[in-house]
């Protein structure tokens, strides 16, 4: 058969038209979800492949779990009252003895699958999630046994595992309560979430997760019927989607975007101090930062006020290794300050006058995850170079940076200085302090210091919260500031924006969003 030009063009046209037909069918219009019952959330991250809360340490999934699961208690984590604890699935709690906490449970609560919430669920959850083999076990102080006193009373017991039960005082607001039936069947646990939270899981469609209001939520069914979790990795796209009305709520804004959205008539911006601090960790188990004098010299070379000026609305000044919303926070009087002369003195004492003899120092940071890391990374590099530190800045995209972040099997990590934030969902300070500064873990900096270890154990083993507070504020945190395995640059501030018609939302400092009382006019 002879192919003519006409036949060829006709075929090509048919092919083009065919592609349109083969493509996903749809209609023009119906662009914007504005029914007043569906909230579209543009999220910067998404969930893992497992819905088991004990299987991950991923911040966006913790935010998703906030919609789905209840906890024994709630901690609003405000800077004014970091230690405040409110009832959730527990209505009363008390210390029985140093190794036992007792919780009285709320009655009439049901899981999304209809099962009644009882003491057996608390026992199953706590004993399962605190097992050292669980990937998220690092969040919890250690293993725990749960005694069922009756259907609505439990006792958390830690004596067998050798640490005070008080360590669960704040962690009880962080561990999502699972159904005992699901814990007995981990495959089911992975496949779908089943909590007591205000919203239940409906389905996942590509990068969108659908949550529906839970009719039997113990605080009353939320007015918002549906929450659409849209994973939108690009910050500009999230902002544009908010501006055109496709999204009602978005998070992790850049400071410039926050400033620009603040001027929009139909948008409300929200600025909230987070439970995250931003740190520069020094690799303490290799030269030159195995010498505390060199670490201090570097810290005294950094003007944190200038760093904060670069970070703008996304940061807040703090002189402490934990965020102001954490239990134990204090403005540490001896926190190392910008002092170039002292920096030079310490360098000379360490045998590196004006930085002479120092090896090349690699400063590893990320771009595209935290705000302004490249910009203030360049500033800090210049400050360190001014004092004689031969610093080379390596900027990596998040996946490559995360691969470089933690120490390897041989105990060593790449580079010499690493930029990272550390966020946790409870006022409990040990969720920050032990993974980062206890020699046994020291996940990033590799510090091995018996004095710090002893102080961390001392505050953990305190007999009361008052005593613990005193030890933290007068001993542990000043000691870490003096030894600087890392320097905390500032406390992060989360920048969010939402439609003006979205009211009654509460944002927790670690990411979760309480929409149970929210309305969308």
């Amino acid at each position: 058969m002879k192919t003519t030009r006409r036949m060829f063009l006709a075929g090509a046209t048919a092919l083009g038209a065919g592609s349109l037909i083969i493509g996903p069918t749809g209609k023009l219009g119906s662009a914007f979800a504005q029914d007043g019952k569906t909230l579209s959330f543009a999220a910067a991250g998404t969930v893992t492949s497992s819905w088991d809360p004990s299987s991950h340490t991923v911040a966006p999934q913790i935010t998703a779990e906030g919609f789905l699961f209840g906890h024994l208690t709630k901690c609003p984590m405000t800077a004014e009252n970091p230690g405040e604890i409110l009832p959730d699935l527990a209505v009363e709690w008390k210390v029985i003895d140093p190794f036992t906490l007792e919780y009285k449970l709320r009655q009439g609560v049901t899981f999304h699958d209809g099962k009644e919430f009882k003491a057996e669920d608390v026992k199953a959850t706590y004993e399962y999630a605190s097992q050292p083999s669980r990937p998220a076990s690092a969040w919890y102080p250690g293993q725990v046994e749960v005694e069922i006193v009756d259907d609505y009373t439990v006792r958390l017991k830690t004596e067998k595992f050798g640490y005070p039960a008080l360590n669960f005082w704040y962690v009880s607001a962080f561990l999502p309560i699972l159904s005992a039936k699901d814990v007995a069947n981990p495959d089911v646990l992975k496949q779908r979430p089943n909590g007591t939270g205000a919203f239940r899981y409906e389905a996942t469609k590509g990068d969108q997760i659908i949550f529906k209001a839970f009719d039997k939520f113990h605080e009353g069914k939320p007015q918002i019927e549906t929450v659409l979790w849209n994973y939108v990795p690009d910050a500009n796209t999230r902002v544009l989607g908010l501006l055109n009305g496709q999204y009602h709520l978005t998070e992790r804004l850049e400071p410039e975007q926050y400033a620009s959205l603040s001027k929009e008539a139909n948008i409300t911006t929200q600025r909230g101090l987070s439970s995250e601090n931003k740190y520069l960790h020094f690799r303490c188990n290799k030269p030159p930062f195995d010498d505390v004098r060199v670490r201090l010299a570097a810290v005294h070379a950094i003007d944190r006020e200038q760093v904060l000026a670069v970070v703008g609305d996304a940061g807040q000044a703090s002189n402490c290794h934990i965020s102001p919303v954490k239990f134990g926070y204090t403005d540490v009087a001896s926190y190392p300050k910008f002092d170039p002369e002292l920096s030079q003195k310490l360098l000379a004492e360490a045998g590196f006058p004006k930085g002479q003899g120092l090896p090349e120092i690699e400063y590893i940071t990320s771009v595209g995850f935290y705000p302004k890391t490249r910009e203030y990374g360049e500033l800090i590099t210049a400050m360190l170079q001014e004092q004689g530190f031969p610093v080379k800045l390596t900027t990596l995209e998040p996946a490559a940076w995360e691969e470089q972040l933690y120490r390897r099997a041989d105990g060593q990590g790449p580079g010499h200085i690493v930029d990272v934030g550390w966020i946790t969902g409870s006022p409990e300070p040990d969720l920050v302090l032990r993974p980062n500064y206890l020699s046994k873990f020291a996940l990033i900096n590799g510090v091995s210091d018996p004095e710090i270890d002893a102080s961390l154990d001392k505050e953990r083993n305190a007999a009361s919260t008052d005593e613990r507070l005193k030890i933290l504020q007068t001993e542990t945190l000043p000691l870490i500031a003096a030894k600087v395995p890392s320097v905390s640059l500032f406390s992060s501030v989360f920048l969010r924006a939402m439609s003006k018609n979205l009211q009654g939302v509460y944002f927790y400092p670690n990411g979760p969003i309480d929409l149970s009382k929210a309305t969308l006019a």
Partner: protein
Amino acid sequence: MAFAIEFFLRRIGQGLVIVLLVAFVIFTLLRIVPGDPIRIILGPMTPASVLEETARNLGLRDPILVQFGRFVTQVASGDLGRSFIRGVQGGSTGGSQDSAGFDPESRASVAELIGTALPYSLQLAALGIVFTLLVSVPLGLAAGLRSGRWPDRLGLYVSSFLVSLPNIWVGVVLIFLLSAKTGLLPAIGYKGFAYTIIPAMVLAIELSPVLIRAISVSVAANLGETYFDVGLVRGLSRRAMIARHVLRNAAVPLFNLFGAQMIGMLLGGLFVVEYIFSYPGLGMLTINAVFQRDFPIIQAVAILASGVLVAINMLVDFASTTIDRRLKF
């Protein structure tokens, strides 16, 4: 017929070698750039011993050639593997393991992920090409037929203007103007055909300048050929000469341009445009896979893209030989 069989056999053979080479280069590059996927698969706080054991179980610590051999065998049997990161429920962040370690069966099939995303990209690409042709053909023809006069200058100015606009910027500006400010069209994600219009406009803005200039130059060159004047002398009208001969002859270099350059630009453009618009096609899937070091998806998309390029070039060459029998590829 014999020519067609010989042509396709030879070109399919050559194409397979090209696809294999592309697959090998991508496969090797992924394994030598910084960023170990095992830390993303299992999460940042996973003990080093578990990381290493899982990486060994997945074959990520074998020599690259061994890994590549295993991969080619798997692909040859029609299995593109499973995502490192995306769960069967659609979750796309790593950092999770169960008590027995990483279970590949809990992750989504790459073929299914591509099968879901591909129709969206095809729709976007097709509409992008339609918009491109709507802009380029009239402008390019007018410029070529009136070389040196105002339509030619207009074609030059328009293509120079469009070529200087970065597609990321154009995308953001169009969303802002056509969606955020005026509410004329939706823009982010996909809930219906209307969601394809603005991204397709961005693609067209990227593709049009090349096509406008190519049509213009090709048509003008044919008008300057002796055969055109001879045809007029023999009594054929200018309109008939253009319709029957000039356009046909001008089409050959345009087909080649389309195959060699435009499809490559289109594929690259799709990646960027889909990311800006959060459009759930192949480009979005791939960009996220790159950020997350999801090797199986990146490899499969690279093979698919190189296969498409090879196939389109093959078809274009065949079409060119059909139009102009003097050509042999």
